[in-house]
């Protein structure tokens, strides 16, 4: 078993290199990279403002038009665009291994700092969604299984089906229209209100919650359906299993049979995805953050792609792919812990 997990951990390395190499190559071959973008901006700003942009400090005697070829070369060298793809990839990888993700071309500050600033926002939503989903799904799945085909089961199925069929950002659009625009119960977006700084701690907390209700609804809507169905199905399998029948034949009450026997076994399928929860750190869906204008990881990723801020794109990719792969392994470990019958070879 240990050998299996050691091998899995070692396999992260080639997969990681594969993913980053592929995206790195894509970012290199698409036109409109950061240098070209900067040139376009300078042209737009005209001659006067030209010298303030980016890494060129050699004045703007070339006039309002673009920089001289030498200066462009200098810029390209500054961003490492002058070398062949593979060499600059190796250089980039070397820096990543020494935990340096480079400098953002848009903010001119270290990528790690930019990403770190967004952690609290994404983690807040990630963890709250996680807790809410487990709090709703496990009890709901159990109730639906026990009361199969009852009114409760069928009514909740409507929500489960809608949640399953509709992407979470459409739920976001629907609730923002209903509860923020039409009824005006909640703010239209943002993480906190404008006057957040001036509020007392209690009011800050209230303000935060007030802003969080609608995004949380859409996050939860996206993931509660699958989990509830999973819980219900595995609960029904276990309720029909012989060992529950035996337990009841020996005189155990139905409730005790459910709680003591069926429920514990039904949690196993839920555990198969438990390890992936470490991705909550950066789990912001950029569509939801885009709709609610929340300044989290998702929006950062989206903006940096649109603005061709490749160091940040790569930085987010590094963090998310490592977390994802580690999460997969953790999930397997969780399964092995809750179900001793599982053997990994």
């Amino acid at each position: 078993m240990t050998a299996y997990f050691v091998r899995r951990v070692l396999l992260i390395i080639p997969t990681f290199i594969g993913i980053t190499l592929l995206v790195f190559t894509i970012t290199r071959f698409v036109p409109g990279g950061p240098v070209e973008r900067m040139l376009a901006q300078m042209q737009a700003m005209g001659g006067e403002g030209g010298s303030s942009g980016g890494g060129s400090s050699s004045g703007s005697d070339v006039g309002s038009n673009a920089l001289s070829p030498d200066q462009i070369k200098e810029l390209e060298a500054y961003y490492g665009f002058d070398k062949p793809v593979f060499i600059s990839y190796v250089l980039w990888l070397k820096k990543v291994v020494s935990l340096d993700l480079g400098t953002s071309t848009r903010y001119s500050e270290p990528v790690w700092d930019t990403i770190k600033e967004r952690f609290p926002v994404s983690t807040f939503y990630g963890i709250s969604t996680l807790i809410l989903v487990y709090l709703i799904c496990i009890p709901l799945g159990i109730i639906k299984a026990i009361k199969h085909n009852s009114i409760v089961d069928n009514l909740s199925s409507i929500f489960v089906f809608i949640g399953y069929a509709i992407p979470n950002y459409v739920v976001g659009i629907a609730v923002i229209y209903l509860f923020a625009s039409y009824f005006e119960f909640f703010p239209m977006g943002g993480f906190v209100g404008d006057e957040f700084e001036d509020l007392s701690t209690w009011e800050q907390f209230k303000d935060l919650l007030h802003h969080a209700v609608l995004p949380l609804i859409s996050y939860v809507a996206g993931s509660f359906a699958v989990m509830t169905i999973l819980m219900k199905n595995s609960m029904m399998d276990n309720l029909a299993a012989d060992y529950v029948r035996t337990a009841m034949a020996k005189g155990l009450s139905f409730n005790r049979a459910v709680v003591r026997h069926a429920m514990r076994n039904s949690l196993i399928p839920i555990a198969t995805s438990f390890g992936n929860n470490i991705s909550v750190l950066i789990s912001g869906s950029f569509l939801i953050e885009f709709i609610f204008n929340i300044d989290g990881m998702g929006l950062l990723g989206y903006e940096s792609i649109v603005e061709r801020d490749y160091p940040i794109v790569m930085g987010i990719l590094v963090i998310s792919s490592i977390l994802f792969m580690v999460g997969n392994i953790l999930s397997d470990i969780c399964v092995a812990i809750v179900d001793p019958r599982v053997q990994f070879k």
């Binding site: 698409v30 399953y164 625009s181 309720l239 569509l287 989206y302």
Partner: protein, 346 residues
């Protein structure tokens, strides 16, 4: 084609699941209707009789206004023609149910789009922010989305089934290498790359499909690999092998028919997946080019004009109805192929 008794039984079971069966019929009818969308929702008339001559302008070339005694050369505005002929009594015009096409801007004096639903103007769900009819855009958008998904599904499944069963059947080094490739591929954030690529080349429907195919073939491949892998070690394959069946015969005559249920039960979910992916890209503005009717573009307009609530609500409601129906079909198909008989306690 002779269906096996098992297949007949599965079809019967599918029909017995009412929710899924009725959704299936409804979706089929809707898709069939999209094929004749020009007859239902169009700015061209279905039928014009003018001075004894009959015209059917729906399909075919542009008929100039002069034909009907109007004072312009460009295409006839049949809505106006209807009024004119009614007044003069020279002929009749029969318009489709919704007399607007998805691309035309219906500007009226003194009214600034978006305008609210009105059955008098025959804008049953109102107009969008440039005065285009919402019903027309929804319906034509649905046509594009559903056929996009279907075509994408065919391509995905062709690759998935052939590569997947090759991996499962051949095993060995080929399987190992492909496994690694799939692992890398599926870890690439799909939407990221699509956005990167789509922001450079303005995609048309085929480049967009190419990109989606490039990142979407793994799921089916993986499923087929697992299925073939399982089937390969079953007795009937061994029996076929010992009788001297060729590799090709084993794959095509024995393994594939037995794994067809995997393919079928994934179809509805792939269709809704395709629709959702296309809509998300259109919503962000990285999808189909500008005037193409699409749900994503309508959603975007709706969120930008929340005070014009009819746009958002009609798209969201229509999307919920279609996607929930597709999910019902998927659930019914799955149940028909894999009936789980549960014991329930009273």
């Amino acid at each position: 084609m002779q269906l096996s008794p098992l297949a007949l039984k599965q079809i019967k079971r599918f029909k017995s699941i009412k929710r899924g069966y009725y959704s299936f019929i409804a979706i089929c009818v809707l898709v069939a209707l999209t094929l004749i969308a020009e007859l239902l929702i169009n700015s061209r008339a279905l039928f014009v009789s003018y001075e004894g001559n009959w015209y059917f302008p729906t399909y075919g070339s542009v008929i100039s206004g002069k034909t009907f005694g109007l004072n312009y050369d460009y295409e006839t505005n049949y809505r106006d023609l209807q009024e004119v002929l009614k007044k003069e009594g020279k002929g009749t015009v029969i318009m489709p149910l919704v007399p607007y096409n998805p691309l035309e801007n219906d500007f009226r004096e003194g009214i600034y789009p978006p305008s609210a639903p009105s059955s008098k103007e025959k804008h049953y769900l109102g107009t969008d922010s440039t005065g285009r009819d919402v019903v027309a855009r929804l319906f034509y958008g649905f046509r594009i989305a559903i056929f996009f998904s279907l075509l994408l599904l065919v391509c995905n499944y062709t690759i998935g089934v052939s590569v997947g069963s090759a991996m499962g059947f051949l095993g060995g080094r080929f399987d190992m290498i492909m496994q690694r490739i799939i692992e890398i591929w599926s870890n690439i954030p799909f939407l990221y790359v699509v956005i990167i690529v789509a922001s450079i080349i303005t995609p048309n429907i085929f480049t967009l499909m190419g990109i989606m195919l490039f990142f979407g073939w793994m799921a089916m491949t993986w499923q087929m690999r697992t299925t073939t892998y399982k089937e390969r070690s079953r007795e009937y394959v061994m029996a076929a092998k010992s009788l001297g069946a060729s590799r090709r015969r084993i794959i095509f005559n024995h393994i594939l028919p037995n794994s067809i249920f995997i393919i079928v039960s994934f179809i509805p979910f792939s269709i809704s997946g395709g629709i959702v992916a296309l809509t998300s890209l259109d919503y962000l503005g990285f999808g189909l080019p500008a005037p193409t009717p699409s749900w994503g573009e309508l959603l975007r307009q709706g969120t930008n004009n929340l005070e014009a609530g009819w746009i958002v609500s009609s798209v969201v409601v229509f999307m919920i109805i279609i996607l929930v129906m597709v999910t019902f079909i998927g659930e019914a198909v799955r149940e028909a192929f894999d009936p789980k008989k549960h014991t329930t306690y009273e």
